[in-house]
Amino acid sequence: MGVMPKWADVVLVPLISLIIAALLSALLILAIGESPVAALKLMIEGTLLRSSGWGYMLYYTTNFIFTGLAVSVAFHAALFNIGGEGQAMMGGLGVALVCLFIPWPHWSFAIIGASLGAAVFGMIWAGLPAYLQAKRGSHIVITTIMFNFIAAGVLNFFLVGALKPKGSMDPATANFPASTHLPTFEDMASLMGFEKMFRAAPANVSFFLALVACVLVWFLIWRSPLGYEIRAMGKSEPAARYAGIGSVKIIMVAMMISGALSGMMAINTTQGESERLILNFTEGAGFIGIAVALMGRSHPLGVLLAALLFGFLYQGGAELALWTKIPRELIVVIQALVILFTGALTLMVRGPLERLFLSLRRRG
């Protein structure tokens, strides 16, 4: 502690980890027989130089902001929520029930209802493991993993059974009524007179909801008494208990906020994009939240930047899969390397850096 200036800790360590991950991925691309430079160029062209590329990128980013914030809030209480995937699935169920069975007059009401539905369902799904951790001492990592699988079962049960429209073969719900459809970036751009922007891209208003969530989480963690208690608990449970902070309450509250955030990811994918509930709509976004939170150092601003980066990687990866022989799974490898270097091998990055700063300080 205190060996490195704060900026180095916050900026340099994630940046160097990212560079190592990028270099290793470049080696992998070389080994496949493609050029890393050309691949990067293709990714940038397909993502940042086209408005529809931005539309796809921000769609993925929205998911990753929600799941990244979810993992971050739990991290602040020293809890590891691997259950984002399952909580998002249940959130999707909440969104579907709200959109299908309540007649909404306008999307602006529907998005509030869907947010509540998603948050409550995600909350319940995170609340059970939290309860088991707080009251029965069951390890939250294992229980949230198990709850991911159980959530997949529950979703499957509803999509091949009760919620599937009669005569349909797809494991999916009926289409949501038109009054619940969220305006996409394309709609908003044409409202403002830009007809050809964001064509057919799935990004929608829930992106702004994600930005609001960033601000709210920042306020919660750093500006509210509850956030203080969560962070105190995360730094040292005995110290927090000594200061009169009940660990049961904090575990429950932190995990339920985390679950609600994960669940709200489903607004973007379910209400915003597919406009019905489908199987596997989460596409691993719950797990990417782990990489996003680690990379963003559990700070909302960091999470936003990391989510943008992963949104870029996701859209760019799709471009690569389309035009080269690099499969989409390359992004999973990059994600794994980011998690490895920012989460598990931090000492490998931090150690040499600390020594460097120590020697600089001695000389200066």
């Binding site: 496949i32 691997i82 229980t143 198990m146 529950v154 059974g161 049961v248 022989k325 490895l340």
Partner: protein, 379 residues
């Protein structure tokens, strides 16, 4: 259901339990030494891919097995480096290893074979063939044989070598852990590494050894999936088995013989799920069981805190509501009518059971005390 059908289900349980058992014992070595390993899944997947790829390329299943173990050991080395030497977070390292395997196997197999992330189907030399024990009756004549002969030929004979290896690993693990000096030290290093260090034994060395054994066993498990259970590697073929093995490990409370029982039970669920698509049960049994569970929860939380009442009471209420719904929807057909148990219910059962065990309602599962904590030697 006749005797032969039962035997066939048990036979397939044994086959499906084998990768679980190997991975479960792998996790047992690692976690007993104080290294949490949720990367079992990734190691199995990597081993499955490389064993199938090498077996397809060379035509030798033994080279494939070795390559699979090698792949798994490599990932184990990363886990060891991260969690023992660099004292990083063991859970995060495990998560990273799972993703690394999930991504790399597809990227490499796509580049190598160009078949959409799978390896070419393995021919006879590239697979572990079923071993027929002496005197076993061939499959065609089995329905005429007597019950003992059926038991012998169907259930005990006709598995691949790795199934017998996995079964032998159980007593071997028990022996190593409880009857050797190495095992005593390994268990001690998971409970109290400082004491082991004081005795002049290397904590780091012991933990690396445990992680290494874990790698070898996961390698065999992966190779079994790709070269014996199926003929080749398919993208994401481990399909959560590593996590089920982890569940079995907790279910077994970190003990080898219990692990055998847990894995056979979970394998049985798989087999039942594979064989019977429709399990019918009288409606009144179904709603009765759910109602009883709900009432049991209510009775349990009567004198507990508010939080207990909300969570467990809510759970009980949910079960009671489901029971009522089942009863109501079957009233017209009469209570004796049968309803189909959803397939997903059987599939989710291992996870639900693990949560129940973790919750400590059916015997408490207590992990090794120093599990998940890196050891920092005093200077």
């Amino acid at each position: 259901m006749d005797f032969l059908t039962l035997l066939q289900v048990l036979d397939s349980s044994l086959r499906l339990a084998t990768p679980l058992l190997l991975a479960c014992l792998a996790g047992l070595f690692s976690e007993r030494a104080g290294i949490f390993d949720i990367g079992l899944e990734g190691k199995m997947l990597a081993a499955a891919f490389l064993s199938a790829a090498i077996a397809a390329a060379t035509g030798s299943v033994w080279l494939g097995l070795l390559a699979g173990i090698g792949a798994s050991l490599l990932l184990s080395a990363i886990h060891g480096l991260a969690s023992i030497t660099l004292r990083g977070d063991q859970i995060i390292s495990g998560v990273a290893i799972n993703f690394l395997a999930a991504g790399l196997t597809v990227v490499i197999s796509q580049d190598w074979f160009g078949q959409g992330g799978r390896t070419p189907p393995l021919l006879s030399g590239g697979r572990f063939e079923p071993l027929n024990l002496p005197g076993a009756v061939p499959a065609k004549e089995i329905s005429q044989a007597g019950p003992f002969m059926q038991l012998y030929s169907e259930l005990l004979s006709g598995h691949s070598l790795l199934v017998y290896v996995a079964l032998l690993m159980v007593p071997l693990t028990w022996f190593v852990l409880y009857k050797t000096r190495f095992g005593l030290r390994l268990r001690a290093v998971g409970e109290n590494p400082a004491a082991v260090d004081t005795a002049g034994i290397s904590v780091v060395g012991l933990r690396y050894a445990a992680v290494g054994i874990c790698g070898v066993l996961c390698g065999i498990a992966g190779a079994y999936m790709a070269t014996a259970l199926q003929a080749g590697f398919v993208k994401d073929m481990s399909a959560g088995r590593g996590f089920i093995a982890l569940a079995a490990l907790i279910f077994a409370k970190w003990r080898p013989w219990y692990a055998l029982g847990a894995c056979l039970l979970f394998g049985f669920f798989f087999a039942v799920d594979n064989r019977f698509q429709n399990i019918l049960l009288p409606a009144w049994v179904m709603s009765g069981v759910l109602l009883a569970l709900g009432c049991g929860l209510f009775a349990y939380v009567r004198n507990k805190t508010v939080l207990d009442r909300i969570v467990l009471g809510g759970l009980g209420l949910g079960l009671a509501i489901v029971a009522t719904l089942i009863t109501l929807s079957n009233l017209s057909a009469g209570l004796g009518s049968t309803i189909k148990i959803p397939v997903v219910f059987i599939q989710s059962l291992p996870y639900v059971l693990t949560v129940v065990v973790l919750a400590g309602f059916v015997g408490k599962a207590i992990p090794p005390r120093s599990g998940g904590v890196a050891y920092v030697k005093e200077k």
